[in-house]
Amino acid sequence: MSQPQLDIAAVEEGPGRPAMSEASPPSQGPGPQRRLKPSTWWSRRSDRVISLMLLAGAMTAIAALAVITAFIFKEGLPLMLEKGLSDFLFSSDWYPQEGKFGIFAMIVGSLAVTLGAMIIGVVFSLSCAIVLTQFCPPRVVSILKPSIELLAGIPSVVYGFMGVVILVPLIRTHLGGPGLSVLAASIVLGVMVLPTVTSISVDALQAVPRSYREGSIALGATSWQTTWRVVLKAARSGIVAAVILGMGRAIGETMAVIMVAGNPLDVPTSPLDPVRTLTSNIAMEMGYASGDHRRALFATGVTLFVIIMILNVIALTVSRRRAVRSKAR
């Protein structure tokens, strides 16, 4: 293998490019016929070698996903089938000692907490993103946006701790119930997804060309009409992506939820009831589970995995179908 840098330098600086080289006197202009440098192994193969190396890196990430998927399905799926899929998913009897594994209450719990978190998180995040991009001078944005993003750096235990110490007593005294509740978990998670959803929404809103905004205002729209009808519409796919990411974070969050949700085995009937989520269930029991119990926890993981996949697909198709419809209309 020859030295590639030298070859490239020679080609670039060489007299073959007359405009550049008044300093290099030999063979200017058309002159005598100069032979092309012979190709080397490296010059023939470099693109291919590098792309193969990058491909290997990319495959590693995909392989990790594949291995994780295969592993939890291998561990969890047999038990789900053994116990009967509908018994596993739609019964809320979770008595590991008696071999009863029904996770219905936890599915409901996870969905309820996530829904609540998304309602709270999306409302606040979108308001934040809209104010930052549409109504704030750039200097203020450059201070506010990083501060909001700092929220993402706070460990989830700290969120849970704040929830237990402040939020839960507040809910208990003012709204009733045990305080440890769907509501508490939703609020804590809503704040936790704020930085993710806000910062991606801000990016999406900032990507809307300024000319759209001006064009709309020149047509007699107010600032708010422009934001609502033009800017948000144009940024929709980015905002949906932000919400999906936030949703993934909310449904997967474990520590903060364990601390504020109470974790009983009952199906919640009101926002003030305590709940156990799928993630809490795995985290709390994995330490001592064995045999079927352990496999049941893997099966819980499989369920979580499938729910997240379904939610993602729904969110993506909804946003895509909307985009297509607005194109066709």
Binding site: P209, S216, A218, L219, A221, Q225, A234, R329
Partner: protein, 253 residues
Amino acid sequence: MSEPPKIRVESFSAAFDGREVLRAISLEVQPRERLAIIGPAGGGKTTFLRSLNRLNDLDGGFSHTGRILFNGMDIYSRQTDPAELRRRVGMVYAVPVPLPWSIYDNLAYGPRLTGIRSRSRLDEIVETSLRQAILWDEVKDRLDELATNLSGGQQQRLCLARILALDVEVLMLDEPCSGLDPISTAKIEDALAELKQRYSIILVTNNTKQAARASDRTAFFLMGELIEVGPTVDLFTNPVHERTGDYITGHFG
């Protein structure tokens, strides 16, 4: 002309962050006339247009002195609603900016903002304004297609149609043909000649030939000042100021 002027600019100066861009401009725009504004880049032509519909308000650091009267009303007074003003003084940009929707929605946007919901009324507005902008025949069968898929010249006429769909009285065009081929340019100029019968038109252009072809009066802006304004024929054949003549004949510099 016995009618009062549509727009009356009284020693209007404008500045961005204290840097003066327009200096004591006084100018009138009559009903149903085409006024061309010519002059080298950086002369304040665009800022002048954007002052007339208060679009400069969007940029931080904008300040002004003097008055601009539209139908006798001071547009910078507190009583003026900028959104209402912009519906009456419509603007077409140098680079067409159709919103990323269908052709129909682009045209119906302005009327919908004012609360018009009736489909038949909207249909009517869309058709009339597209006809006025000489675009109807090209797009009548594909109003549902994305406006951004139209050609550059069609997009520019769409933008023209879009302001015609408003309650517009003055049309401002900021170098509307700068990116267009001669045929598209001719179509826009044809549309303007037709529209002159109903609207006042202010046409900013870098193309002195276009100013000569498509205007009744011409104003020459240089370095933020209005050097000269007069009937286009006079200005082009017999300019009062030496610098106007230099610019028109291309000896500028």
